[in-house]
Subunit: 202 residues, 2 copies
């Protein structure tokens, strides 16, 4: 496995304001992948992680449709991506379509299907990061065509696509992506958490 390279000039080390689980701060979304397949059973461990996420009424409205490198499905999944994502995802070991069920069993709209699927995605991402894998969610794909390509029934919506792979060499990325290859920063806690009322101090 090749060590991940990050550009420290553009991506200074992350500093947490308050003490948290190190794995939460260590996870980020690299693009450099090696192109090799995953170890046997690695994908199952990612889906196992997603499985244990909480959901409204324990409905578990998330599903994962995946394609592995070297298969016809992988070519179809790659073709869904915007060119800016396809250029680095050609070295992914797998692509995953994340879908969520938009209605409850009684037919009413499900108010938290996307939110719950996001929780499952986070668990999957942390598991992959802890295994040393690249796990990178993308919004840049053909949302109109994705449901048909993944074979979604009516009542299911695509939330995102995920690239999964073994870490690769940053210098194999297109030049404009090399400088972006590093952990991104975040808003301070005081801008996302408010006491009593939105916009109040933390």
């Amino acid at each position: 496995m090749v060590a991940r390279m990050t550009n420290l000039a553009t991506h200074p080390p992350r500093v947490a304001e308050h003490e948290v689980l190190p794995l939460l701060v260590a996870r980020w979304s690299p693009r450099a992948m090696s192109g090799e397949p995953l170890a046997a059973g690695a994908l199952a461990r990612l889906f196992e992680a997603a499985r244990w996420a909480p959901s409204g009424g324990n409905v578990q409205p998330w599903r994962f449709v995946y394609a592995e490198t070297g298969t016809p499905e992988m070519a179809a999944f790659l073709d869904l991506l915007e060119p800016g994502n396809r250029v680095w995802c050609v070295r992914a070991a797998a692509l995953v379509v994340v879908a969520s069920q938009t209605t409850l069993a009684d037919g009413r709209p499900h108010p938290t299907h996307a939110f719950d699927a996001g929780a499952a995605w986070m668990s999957l991402a942390l598991q992959g990061s802890s295994m040393g894998l690249v796990v990178h969610a993308m919004g840049g794909f053909d949302r109109a065509r994705a449901p048909a390509v993944a074979g979604l029934p009516d009542g299911w919506a695509v939330q995102c696509m995920i690239a999964v792979g073994r870490p690769g060499r940053v210098e194999d990325l297109p030049e404009r992506l090399q400088a972006r290859e590093g952990p991104s920063s975040r808003k301070p806690v005081g801008e996302i958490a408010f006491r009593g009322r939105f916009g109040a101090g933390a």
Copy 2:
């Protein structure tokens, strides 16, 4: 701190099908809380955890409005809950309204605002669980009134409410909730992950 009690007859221990981070399987959603306030700085650590979640374009469309026990805001937040949630949330140390921004900076609808907020919620939940706290998301609250009570501006949607507290005694819960106090099960991986096409085998 009182040890959490679970009903092993109705809630057998969770068994992962594939090896994953133990904290993912250990996290669940208790209702029994002690009513005590949190330690100073504990809530900030939960929001710090949420802060590092990934989001489309790193927009970080999540916000958390919280009320702590003994404040006027807490009474207003409790009043938003459905009676079935209020009955155990009276012992929460804090209630949190999770909101997400439904539009991007250019005014277009944001396709992943709820999904991204769900990722931030999962990070928050794992952090709280690792600190030995009860962290329990709820969909059962007044979705029509919640935005005004939390002071949300236009363009922000409420995703869920979260109860946070110190663990308490199961026997202080209403009787019908005592039997439910334990980790819930999940669908097998083979029902949530599909190779190539929705509904195919894993």
